[in-house]
């Protein structure tokens, strides 16, 4: 199945925005993901292995929390799993590219 990795977590997944996961269930696919990218683990799960409360998982367009079998739900190759963390704000500047004209100090 394809797991969509959101922008804030891509830095812990070698910058990738998707991951092709193996596994028969949501849980197994997530295990494959976090074994491949161990840094993701603490951002997705609590110390007790529960999905963090500010991270939501969607199997296709359904919230995994509301599926009858939750993370044990069977998945197929064509399913997608979206990781949707809460996001806030953006108080920042653009990235200056080496080939682009230099930006002046004042706008």
């Amino acid at each position: 199945m394809t797991i969509f990795i959101p922008t804030p977590l891509r830095q812990f997944a070698n910058g990738k925005d998707t991951f092709e996961a193996k596994g028969a269930t949501v849980s197994e696919a997530l295990t494959h993901l976090t074994e491949t990218h161990p840094d993701l683990r603490k951002h997705l799960f609590t110390g007790e292995g529960k999905v963090r409360s500010f991270v939501n998982l969607y199997l296709n367009d359904e919230d995994v929390r509301y599926l009858p079998e939750k993370e044990s739900t069977q998945v197929s190759k064509t399913d997608t799993l979206s990781i949707i963390p809460s996001i806030a704000g953006g108080d920042w500047a653009v990235q200056a590219d080496a080939a682009a004209p230099q930006l002046t100090t004042d706008l």
Binding site: P8, S86, W92, A93
Partner: protein, 392 residues
């Protein structure tokens, strides 16, 4: 809310207004009655920044009668890349004054109500209660949960939007029978675990896109027409230009809007979001890491002291501004410890002191005996030592 207003009680449109709103009036979905509903409506925009700018602009243009604005900030040069309601000449000015001026210039009939304050548990209900719809354009978790809870308690729908880098989210919360923000996210992330707004960056156009979606939802809620984003989370990916939609369900166990709510009054949202006020001791030592001010750093550099200054920001930040530290981006630090001399004191800095604090704690755990953090980072350096160092 306004949709419930009796037609007979709706305000008449003036001749000028009939001309101004002619493109609405000939739309069957708006028409005379819809335009009158807009004129009768009172909408509160929380924030006049990235999301609030396009939101307030379009609501003013559309003929909303009363627009409340909540903000206490002043316009900064770094806002102008996306906060299009403010101009270069407004730098240093109160955002409220700058926004109100643009909005009344666009639509002199608009009544702008300025709430020059930070929304808090003490004032939120009093401020929100007179409005029909709230549009949340805040950029921080405490205010977002505060707005959500206040909307649920008052029964006011909340057109929500949020942005990060190239991605946005939009939905309508706290509508009758619909889910609220807490149904989606019962708890906020602890500070420091996800990149903060100052570290994340945002494409300037993105809040325009998301803010206009919020404005559209506000208008639809007032008209009582179309399918609002109730029970749906719209995801906007501007880099790939993909829009996706996820189903949101009302959580029957939600502490605010569930069957047996436990939150029946506003709470301490700073505390809820894990933000603890700094104690005087923490100014000097935080989590076991001594903090130095930029003034102290400058004095030590001027005195020729041995200062091993490590800059843990990203290369593209270094390109914008630097103060002579050795660049080792935070995620590279664990693999580049051989470049940091553990026999010398290590002084770590970043943009504003958050990332460097975490790296300083990491270095201490890795056995570095003397590690200090530069409080306020390069931003404080620019403010207090050398204004020629660009702020970003």
């Amino acid at each position: 809310m306004a949709t419930a207003t009796e037609t007979s009680a709706l305000p008449e449109l003036t001749t000028d207004e009939l001309a101004r709103y002619s493109r609405h009036l000939i739309l069957p979905e708006v028409g005379m009655e819809g335009q009158q509903k807009l004129k009768a409506a009172k909408v509160l925009c929380v924030g006049t920044g990235g999301l609030g700018s396009p939101l307030a602009f379009y609501l003013a243009a559309a003929g909303i009668g009363t627009l409340g604005l909540v903000d206490f900030d002043v316009v900064d040069a770094s806002n102008l890349q996306r906060q299009i309601i403010h101009s270069t000449k407004d730098i240093g000015r109160k955002k409220l004054d700058s926004a109100a001026e643009k909005l009344t210039a666009l639509n002199p009939a608009l009544k702008v109500v300025k709430h020059e304050t930070m929304l808090t548990s003490a004032n939120a209900l009093e401020i929100l209660k007179d409005y029909d719809v709230v549009a949340d354009g805040t950029d921080n978790f405490p205010t977002r949960y505060l707005v959500n809870d206040a909307c649920v308690l008052l029964g006011i729908p909340n057109a929500y939007g949020s942005i990060f880098r190239f991605e946005g989210q939009a939905s309508v919360f706290a509508a009758k029978e619909g889910p609220c923000y807490r149904c989606l996210y019962p708890e906020p992330p602890p500070p420091g675990l996800v990149p903060s707004c100052a570290e994340g960056g945002v494409l300037g156009i993105l809040p325009g896109l998301v803010g206009v979606i919020q404005a559209t939802e506000v208008i639809k809620l007032i008209l009582g027409n179309g399918s609002p984003l109730i029970g749906r989370l719209l995801l906007v990916d501007s880099l790939n230009m993909k829009f996706r939609e996820l189903k949101l369900r009302k959580n029957r166990e939600c502490p605010v809007c569930g069957d047996n709510p436990t939150v029946t009054a506003l709470i301490d949202y700073q505390n809820f979001c894990g933000i603890v006020p700094e104690t005087p001791q923490e100014k000097n030592v935080k989590n076991g890491i001594p903090q130095i001010t930029v003034k102290e750093l400058k004095q030590r550099l001027d005195a020729g002291e041995d200062v091993q200054l490590i800059d843990v920001r990203e290369p593209y930040e270094y390109q914008i501004a630097q103060i002579g530290g050795k660049l080792i981006p935070q995620n590279d630090v664990p693999n580049r410890l051989n470049e940091i001399d553990r026999n010398r004191e290590v002084v770590v800095h970043c943009k504003s002191g958050g990332r460097s604090q975490r790296i300083a704690e990491f270095l201490q755990q890795a056995g570095y005996p003397r590690v200090v953090n530069v409080a306020g980072g390069i931003t404080a350096w620019s403010d207090e030592i050398d204004p020629k160092v660009p702020k970003y």
